[in-house]
Amino acid sequence: MIEIENITKRYGDAEVVSDVSFVVEPRTVTVIVGTSGSGKTTLLRMINRLVEPTSGTIKLDGRDNRAMPAYELRRHIGYAIQGHGLFPHRTVAQNIATVPVLLGWEKSRIDARVEELLSLFQLDPAIFGPRYPHELSGGQQQRVGVARALAAEPNVLLMDEPFGALDPVIRAKAQDDLLAIQKRFGTTIILVTHDMEEAIHLGNRIAVMDEGRLIQYATPAEILAKPATAFVETLIGAGDRPFRFLSLNEVGEAVEPGTAEGEALPVTVTQRDALAELLWSGRTALPVEADGKRIGRVTVEGLIKRAARPA
C-alpha cells in the first residue's frame, strides 16, 4: 500500500505539486494522467525520493519512505524513467542486471533473471543481451528500460511514460504484457501517461492532475461517468467517451438470450470491439460463444444502451 499524504513540492515560488493525497491499494495499477507540466513526474519521483517533498509524507506499507537511506529504498522500488535512461557504456544484459548486482544476487540467478526478462519482452537474449543500448530501436530501448526496472522483482514499480516511443501494435502488446506481469507478481504499479486510452486500459484507478493539483482520483468507470471538472471532461474527449465506456467491460456482460447469424464473438472481447464488429459487418446482432459453445447474442441496440451516460 502506498499512502500519499498532503504532498507539496515547491521550486522557489512555483508550487509544482500542491497538497496531493491519495492511497494506492496493494497489487493494483494506478495511472496518473494530466497535461504536460502538471507535476506527474515530480509526484512520481517523490515516492522513491529522487525528489524530496517540501511538505507531506509518503508511506510504503505503513513505513515512512524516509525511514531508510534513499539509495536503499530505490533498490526495492522499480523505476522506469521517462526516456529510458539506459547506461550507454553497458550492454543490455548488464543494464538489466544493475539492481540485482547492487543487491548482491548470485551470478547464476542474475543471468537467469536477465534471460527471463528479455524473453518476456520479445527480445532474443542471445542477440540483444550483448548489444549496447545505441544498437537498439527506440521501442526496444524502452522495453529494456522497463525490464531493468522489473529485474529485482520489486513490489512497487514506478513507470514514467514507459510506452511513449512504441508503435500502436507493440504498445498494445507491451501493455498487455505489463498487466500479465503485474498479475503474476502482484506488483503495485504507478504509471504516468498522457494517454487517456492507456490510462483506462491499464488503470484500476486513475489520478487526474492539473497544475499540480489532484483533480480526481477514481476508477475509470467513475471518471468516464462523472468527470469531476470540465478539465477532466476535455481530457477524456467527449467524442470518444461512449466508446471508452464500452471498452471497460467484456461482451459477456451484454449477452442477451437468442441466436443470430454470422461469425460468433468470443465472450472475452470488449463491448467496444463487439460494437465495432457489429457496425463493420452491417448486422444488428451477432452470436457470442464461450468455450466453443454459443451462449446467446449481442445486439447493437443493447450495446447502445450500455454506452449511454449512467444515471
Binding site: H76, L86, H89
Partner: protein
C-alpha cells in the same frame, strides 16, 4: 584489424623510429648533408635509445602525477561537498598553466638543485590544466537521464561515480591526458638545460656545436613520438566513444 593504409603508415613510422634508435648508424647517409667539416653525423655523447627512454619516463611520471591530481581535484569539485572549491581550484590550475615552464625551472633549481626534479615539477604544473578542464567538462556534461537512472536504480554516490560517471566521462578525460602528454613531450626538452636526461640534450648539443644533424635528430624523435602517442590515444578515445554510441569524443 585490417591493415589499412593509415595503420600501415603508422606502423611503418614506428618501425623506422625503432630502427633509428637501435641502429642510428644506418641512417648516416640521410643526415650527412647537414654536417660540415667532417663533424660527427650521428649524436655521439650517449645512446639515443637510452635518452629516448629517459625522456619518455620523465613525461610518463609527470603526466601520471598531473592526471591523478587533476582528476582527484575534478572529482572533488563536482561533488556537492566540494562545489565551493571550484573557482579556487580553477584559478590554481590556470596559474600552473600560465606560468612558463622555463620560469618554473629557474625558480626550482635554486631550491632543489639541478637534475630531474625541477623538470618533473615544471611538466607536472604545465600538464594539470588540460586534464582538469577536460575532466570537469566530462563530469558535468553527463546525459541527465542516465545520471537520473543511476540514482533511480539505487546506486549510492560512490557507485554512481565509479560505475557511471567516470566511465561516461572517460573519452573526454582521455582527450585531456592526450593533450597533456603531447605538451609534456615537447616541453621536456628544456629540462636538459638543468641537467635532466631528455632528448633536449641532443638538440642542445647540436646548437652548441652548430651541428644541424643533431638538432634534427632530437627534434624528429620528439616529434614522431608525439604524433604516434597522440594517434594511439585518439584511437582509444574513438573506440570508447563508439562503443557508447557517441559519434566523436567531445574533446576540448
Amino acid at each position: 584489424m585490417k591493415l589499412s593504409l593509415p595503420v600501415f603508415l603508422r606502423l611503418f613510422v614506428l618501425a623506422l623510429l625503432i630502427c633509428f634508435l637501435v641502429r642510428p648508424d644506418w641512417f648516416e647517409p640521410v643526415f650527412k648533408p647537414l654536417t660540415q667539416n667532417n663533424a660527427p653525423v650521428i649524436y655521439n655523447h650517449g645512446s639515443l635509445l637510452t635518452l629516448t627512454l629517459q625522456h619518455l619516463r620523465i613525461v610518463f611520471i609527470a603526466t601520471s602525477a598531473a592526471a591523478a591530481v587533476a582528476l582527484a581535484l575534478a572529482i572533488l569539485v563536482t561533488r556537492p561537498i566540494g562545489a565551493e572549491f571550484l573557482p579556487l581550484s580553477r584559478s590554481l590550475v590556470n596559474i600552473g598553466q600560465t606560468f612558463p615552464p622555463v620560469a618554473v625551472l629557474a625558480l626550482a633549481v635554486p631550491a632543489i638543485g639541478f637534475g630531474e626534479k625541477p623538470t618533473l615539477i615544471a611538466l607536472f604544473l604545465y600538464g594539470l590544466l588540460p586534464i582538469f578542464e577536460n575532466a570537469l567538462t566530462g563530469l558535468t556534461n553527463l546525459p541527465v537521464a542516465v545520471v537520473e537512472a543511476a540514482r533511480g536504480v539505487g546506486m549510492n554516490e560512490r557507485q554512481r561515480l565509479v560505475k557511471v560517471e567516470l566511465p561516461l566521462a572517460l573519452p573526454v578525460i582521455l582527450a585531456g591526458i592526450r593533450l597533456s602528454v603531447v605538451i609534456s613531450l615537447a616541453t621536456a626538452t628544456i629540462g636538459s638545460t638543468v641537467a635532466a636526461k631528455t632528448l633536449g640534450e641532443v638538440i642542445i648539443a647540436g646548437l652548441i656545436s652548430n651541428n644541424l644533424a643533431f638538432v634534427l635528430q632530437g627534434g624528429l624523435i620528439v616529434g614522431i613520438l608525439a604524433v604516434l602517442i597522440y594517434d594511439g590515444l585518439s584511437a582509444v578515445e574513438r573506440m570508447l566513444a563508439r562503443r557508447m554510441g557517441l559519434s566523436v569524443a567531445r574533446a576540448a
